[in-house]
């Protein structure tokens, strides 16, 4: 049996994680409103989420991953 992460869903969630982390930084006054980080974080989250799902799916059984 093969295991795979949910790449599309993880990218979707990663995007919103990045978006809301950016909002947090702005709303708590850690960075200025015009800081480029606010725009970049959702994009990092999008690709970061997809990468996490592709390369590090949690809960994968190691014995199954080597099954031919």
């Amino acid at each position: 049996m093969k295991y795979r992460g949910r790449i599309g869903l993880a990218a979707f969630c990663g995007f919103f994680v990045g978006l809301f982390v950016g909002f947090d930084l702005v709303l708590f006054g850690a960075i200025q409103l015009d800081n480029i980080t606010v725009s970049v974080l959702p994009i990092i989250g999008l690709f970061g989420g997809a990468a996490l799902a592709m390369w590090a799916p949690l809960g994968r059984k190691r014995t199954d991953s080597t099954t031919p």
């Binding site: 049996m1 093969k2 295991y3 795979r4 992460g5 949910r6 869903l9 993880a10 979707f12 969630c13 990663g14 919103f16 994680v17 809301f20 982390v21 909002f23 947090d24 930084l25 702005v26 709303l27 708590f28 006054g29 850690a30 960075i31 200025q32 409103l33 015009d34 800081n35 480029i36 980080t37 606010v38 725009s39 989420g49 996490l52 799902a53 590090a56 799916p57 949690l58 809960g59 994968r60």
Partner: protein, 161 residues
């Protein structure tokens, strides 16, 4: 990265000062680069441009800087409708009442005044309203919720060969 711009903030010979009446703090536009102000209050202000007080078509605006791709958003402007001015200085007391939702956010506010004689004044200041927006707590809750979702979605699922 989030630090206010350093150094003097008004160029071109213009002058502006404002006293926040509730806190008693006075801000000089030439030397101030960061102002933390109460959400509701009054400011006694005065401003001048280094030109004679003759009838002329001076043009200018004040803008707030938002993140890319939004960019600058105009807060106020003068002279763009062709209306002429005859003064080179002005003063007054302005009452303001900002919504609680924008409390705590650091916004870069910048402006310029272009005189027909060639004098161009520019200025910028980072403004932060005291307090914390209720949106900040909602955003923090949504961040935690989306992190939990992300941790669930990156879990492996079985795929039939």
């Amino acid at each position: 990265m989030g630090a206010p711009p350093a150094g003097a903030n008004v160029t071109g010979g213009c002058a502006a000062t404002g006293t926040q009446l509730q806190s008693g703090k006075t801000y000089d536009a030439v030397t101030t680069n960061f102002a933390k102000i109460p959400r509701v209050g009054d400011v006694k202000w005065a401003a001048s441009v280094p030109v004679p007080a003759t009838k002329r078509a001076a043009v200018g605006e004040v803008q707030g800087k938002f993140p890319w791709p939004i960019g600058d958003i105009e807060i106020g402007q003068w002279g763009k409708n062709g209306k002429q001015t005859g003064s080179n200085a002005n003063k007054g007391t302005y009452h303001y009442d900002f919504p609680k939702l924008i409390a705590g956010i650091k916004v870069l506010v910048h402006g310029r005044d272009q005189e027909p004689s060639g004098v161009l004044c520019r200025g910028a200041v980072v403004v932060q309203i005291e307090g914390t927006s209720p949106l900040a707590w909602a955003s923090l809750a949504l961040t935690v919720f989306m992190l939990m979702n992300l941790s669930l979605t990156i879990r492996a699922r079985k795929v039939k060969p």
